[in-house]
Assembly symmetry: C2
Homo-oligomer: 407 residues x 2
């Protein structure tokens, strides 16, 4: 497996486009389309929020068909959440417009939306946008990059990743793009993420691989503790790599899972590092926990702590806040066995041993915490399980961005 350039168009047979539809933003692309002329197997995971956006409800129905998927249409202006039956009907109309433009069935089109909650879509602009998108679909890295830009909201950078792998003796690719910066606390997956692959794999195994993968990738990300109404992660597999279909958990399945993990972990880190207002990616790695689930809970609790996040912004080695966040994670442990290191490109420093703060150089701690990627490494001394979670610091800009998001 090897990382390569590109995103959703890196795998064979996928085309993409972005367009200025004026849904909410002016002078920027705010709609994207993804298209495979060859029908795809599809798998998806969706928000656990009880309040689900209309496109989440639509996509869940389509993904249940498991195959025959051709396209995804996304707008990044309006979330189409809290929009009732009208919102769902607008999803169907969007799919119908794409189906007409591309000559495919309406129920082969997936829909994604992100943006303001509680507003209805301007359907005239959406259908005009779908027309523009269908007319400008293209293969190649540039088209995928344009789509990745078009799905951004408060993101400051497009987020893409792709890897090359070998399955059944054939070369294949898994690539993806995602967006997400605020309202990020996935509890199935994150805001919007689309992964494409030319691997030939059964729809059942595609879904199983995806559901397992998100537990250690997108579900380990938090920017602000707010689980979105729109979280959607889709994987489309068109089989064009030509490998014998993966129908059991053999070496090819393992290779595919490793590639999926690499792409999703990379995208997850990009979301955390580009959290609203963030100046730093804040990673927490738990080692020697008693169970995998407890390792995950502990890691997520630390990167979700507002006080710890504010301390990271201030380059303050406030290990007490990290100990505190471990303590309320809902996991039972002996605080007097916990050791804690701060780590970054600038070095690694023990700040807490056996539950008590140790003497350390504040100057060195500040140096470590001034890097753009900072890790808290926590040794629980309880067992053999580990987990890593990704968040970011809490900054003035997070407040500024969210105090007037709608205006």
């Amino acid at each position: 497996m090897e990382f390569i350039a590109g995103g959703v168009t890196a795998a064979k047979g996928f085309r993409a486009a972005g367009a200025e539809a004026g849904v909410k933003y002016r002078n920027r692309k705010d709609m994207a389309m993804l298209y495979s002329p060859v029908p795809c197997k599809a798998a998806g995971v969706f928000t656990s929020n009880v309040v689900k956006a209309a496109p989440v409800i639509w996509d869940r129905e389509i993904v249940t068909q498991r195959e025959g998927v051709h396209a995804v249409v996304v707008n990044s202006g309006i979330a189409n959440a809290c929009t009732g039956k009208t919102g769902y009907e607008y999803c169907r109309q969007t799919a119908a417009a794409a189906a007409a433009a591309l000559g495919i069935p309406e129920r082969s089109v997936l829909i994604g939306s992100t943006g303001v909650i509680g507003m209805q879509l301007p359907m005239d602009r959406i259908t005009a946008g779908v027309g523009k998108l269908a007319a400008s679909l293209a293969s190649g890295a540039e088209a995928g990059h344009i789509a990745a830009q078009a799905i951004m909201t408060t993101d400051t950078k497009p987020k893409e990743a792709a890897v090359k792998l070998t399955v059944g003796g054939r070369e294949a690719v898994v690539g993806g793009m995602c967006k997400g910066s605020g309202m990020i606390h996935p509890n199935m997956c994150t805001m919007l993420a689309y992964v494409t692959t030319d691997v030939n794999i059964s729809a059942a195994l595609l879904q199983e691989a995806l559901s397992a993968d998100v537990q250690d990738t997108f579900n380990m990300v938090s920017v602000d503790g707010d689980t979105s109404t729109n979280d959607t992660l889709l994987v489309l597999a068109n089989g064009l790599a030509g490998n014998p279909e993966i129908t059991e958990k053999n070496a090819d399945y393992a290779a595919f899972c490793a590639a999926l993990r690499a792409v999703n972990e990379t995208l997850s880190r990009k979301i955390a590092g580009d959290g609203e207002g963030a100046t730093a990616l804040f990673e927490t790695k738990i080692i020697h926990a008693d169970t995998k689930e407890n390792a995950r809970k502990l890691a997520r609790s630390v990167i979700s702590s507002n006080l710890t996040k504010a301390a990271i912004f201030g380059h303050d080695a406030n290990c007490g806040r990290i100990m505190c966040a471990l303590g309320y994670a809902g996991v039972s442990f002996d605080p007097e066995r916990v050791s804690l290191w701060l780590e970054s490109a600038a070095g690694k420093l023990l700040v807490c041993r056996d539950g008590a703060t140790v003497e350390y150089s504040e100057e060195e701690a500040t140096k470590i915490l001034s890097c753009p990627e900072v890790t808290a490494l926590v040794d629980m001394q309880m067992g053999g399980f580990e987990a890593t979670a990704w968040g970011c610091d809490l900054t003035f800009d997070y407040v500024r961005i969210n105090a007037d998001y709608r205006s």
Copy 2:
């Protein structure tokens, strides 16, 4: 029952003091003492954080004795958390110093600490402070007010409340003080709160009344989602009102519970309204939920949402964020039955009906949200239970305060 002026010294037989001990702050009182010459029944609830500060461990032991408590000594410079066995020994030494100064047993002294986590107490200053406090103990409202000031950390105002009630034909008082502004997400009770009463009540019923009460008062407060290592709420009852001892759940018990509720709810609201950096108290009232516990979860989820809190700061009627926070509360409900009003001294406005945003005047919404106390009223249309939670807005000042708290 009637609200009266005063706090921990409002009930008969309680004295208090505050002193400049120089534990961390300069030129301000940073230690407080509370003392009843008559031994008290004691009840307490403590943090659910696995990482418990040394004074929490000490107090739990003392409260288990249930009676014979005379004094509380608090410092507001250093939390004495993550301090290992030394931290616990320092609690004992503080109690020993108070015992010597007051001529009472060491194990009749409760200890409270709040401030920086991970530092050891400067015991010379603490014991000197205890001496000053014992020498300046006084009755009356002013002494209680000084104690309430001395326990503050990032609080901007002292927090006191007291009510007068009649039990067994005798006039009695329940009064209290508390501190808390950041690291506030109580999961047994909040940072430090001390309630005194002259009601004569059995220790068992005192504990039962307290444990029930906090479910609807301190446990319904959140400033930042961080459950502290030091949360402690103590009630001391010295019996000086002279009523026949309350030993069963009769009308006197109900009167005491109502008084305790009034004091604790008032203190809880004061903590939320004085949350770090806050410009507004943000209350969420859930009505017509299917169970009491679900009503509490929904209310807490909304007031804990960073995005909603930032919107309140921006006076932005972002009802989508409130719907979103209801949706991830861990409660099952039908979003299409939810209605939502925004309410304050400036008026009441329906913003969401049956799960979908309605047309409303943005101007009126902004006027309502510009008040210092703002309520989101949510009708779940599921059943007959309600709950109220209290939080505050998320502001630039919250980030500023917490990016450099230790320095």
